[in-house]
């Protein structure tokens, strides 16, 4: 529990965390608003085929904030100080104050999960308000199961970012890969046109939890399960590597 609190306070005192919070809270709303503006006439006329995606598209594409959160939580541990201070990294301090490495990893993952859930709740509130603002009375109702799916999607994505960064230590690759993959120009969507297997990729499967896409492949529950499976596998891999690695390398 103490380790968990320590990790929470570490996260909150990171300089980059405010960027993550800002993007996480407002990007979904902005994306949803712009998308709703584009769809406005169709919705009013009742011709929209994407009605069930209204608002949720913001939550799906605005997940960049929690990606930054998950990556920074780990990459900040490995940022080497200037060699005048002996080239020290925060990871050495962190590992001397916890009883075991797994303990440390779980506490950090827990802190990341909690904060991403909170952030996703804030994002939902801003997105719903923004959609209401744009569409007024034509706003479709936001159902609880789908919103829960969105929250899960955010938490799982943050944990994926977290796991990958534990493996790479440096934040650049996971940031680049995940930001691109969850943007409008996603690898997973491209691959899904090439092979059906790509539909089991974590972000594509996770989308099923709250976005009703034209070619629905998995039920929401199964989609969530697939994504969760990815998170677990990645976490186990990260834990094994982390446990065995020399800190100085």
């Amino acid at each position: 529990m103490r380790a968990f609190n320590a990790e929470l306070s570490k996260l909150f005192s990171l300089p980059g965390i405010w960027l993550a919070f800002l993007i996480g809270a407002f990007a979904p709303a902005v994306i949803a608003a712009l998308d709703s503006i584009a769809q406005k006439e169709e919705i009013i006329a009742g011709l929209s085929t994407r009605l069930s995606e209204v608002g949720y598209i913001g939550l799906g594409l605005g997940v960049q904030g929690v990606i930054i959160l998950g990556v920074l939580a780990v990459s900040s541990e490995y940022l080497a100080e200037s060699s005048e201070s002996g080239g020290g990294q925060q990871i050495t301090t962190s590992l001397t104050v916890v009883s075991s490495r797994i303990h440390f990893l779980l506490a950090k993952a827990g802190a990341v999960t909690v904060i991403s859930i909170l952030l996703s709740v804030v994002a939902i509130m801003t997105t719903v308000s923004a959609t209401h603002l744009v569409l007024g009375e034509y706003t479709p109702a936001f159902e609880w199961p789908k919103l829960l799916g969105a929250v899960c999607y955010w938490a799982f994505t943050a944990l994926l970012a977290f796991g990958i960064t534990v493996l790479t230590k440096h934040g650049m690759i996971p940031l680049a890969v995940l930001i691109i993959n969850t943007s409008f120009v996603s690898f997973s969507f491209l691959l899904s046109k090439v092979t059906k297997l790509a539909l089991y990729l974590p972000d594509r499967a996770g989308f099923e939890m709250f976005m009703f896409l034209s070619n629905r492949f998995l039920t929401p529950f199964k989609g969530g399960l697939v994504m969760f499976a990815w998170v677990v596998v990645l976490f186990i891999a990260a834990a094994i590597v982390f446990h065995r690695r020399d800190v100085a390398s």
Binding site: A80, S82, S83, E84, G86, G87
Partner: protein
């Protein structure tokens, strides 16, 4: 010769340097002392053109650093750390510097030999120990065989052999007419190496003169230092 004249540096509302002036003369080793946060690094950074002074100037042979024709052959600087990218090897680091200053590759090998890094030169800087990083910084400073050396804590992290080597090396350089300005915290070591002493405290110079003048009536440099930097000058510690 290094001339610092009425240097003032303000950052926001804080005044880091309040009009400091001193000289570092050729043929002498000048020691630059002060507590943490006194303004030593700021002064050296302004001298080397890294930071901008609010007013006053810091001149090298009468010219500011940016106006030197070939800086590396005039002033050699070793500031904190190795000053090298962690993923490059020591040799690659020195080679690009030599290329920029128009020096030959053989000079790189000479300098590596002087500081004793020839064996480690092919390894990445990230794998260097603290002392090896300082040696690399020293090698970079010596690359152009400059008349003036500016060193920030050169002894930091060196083993006893390295400490003795630096002391002898700097004395030899000063003896052959070069200027050496070095800052340090190690009083005992410094007292063995320097000719002149400049003490800075809270952005002001509190002592400036030869080693004997600054020590004055105190028994060691350390005593004089604490006397001058705790409270008002003249207080008995």
């Amino acid at each position: 010769m290094i001339t610092i004249h009425n240097l003032v540096k303000r950052r926001g509302t804080q005044e880091i340097l309040s009009g400091i002036s001193f000289k570092a003369r050729p043929g002498r080793v000048t020691g630059f002392l002060g507590p943490n946060g006194a303004g030593k690094s700021s002064t050296l950074r302004i001298l080397l053109g890294l930071d901008r002074a609010t007013s006053g100037n810091a001149l090298i042979d009468g010219k500011p650093f940016a106006e030197l024709h070939n800086p590396l052959t005039t002033v050699g600087a070793a500031l904190d750390g190795s000053g090298a990218h962690r993923m490059r090897t020591g040799r690659e680091h020195l080679r690009w510097m030599a290329h920029a200053a128009g020096l030959s590759r053989s000079r790189v090998e000479e300098v590596l030999d002087i500081v004793g890094l020839t064996n480690a030169a092919g390894k990445r800087v990230a794998k260097y120990s603290l002392g090896m990083g300082r040696r690399l910084g020293m090698a970079a400073a010596l690359l152009g065989d400059p008349k003036i050396l500016v060193l920030d804590e050169p002894v930091n992290g060196l083993d006893p052999e390295g400490i003795r080597w630096i002391r002898t090396f700097l004395r030899e350089r000063a003896a052959s007419g070069n200027t050496v300005l070095l800052s340090s915290h190690l009083m005992g070591e410094l007292a063995e190496t320097v000719d002149d002493v400049v003490i800075i405290h809270h952005g002001k110079i509190v002592a400036d003169g030869s080693l004997e003048e600054v020590i004055g009536n105190h028994s060691t440099l350390e005593e004089a230092f604490f006397a001058l930097t705790s409270g008002l000058a003249g207080d008995v510690v």
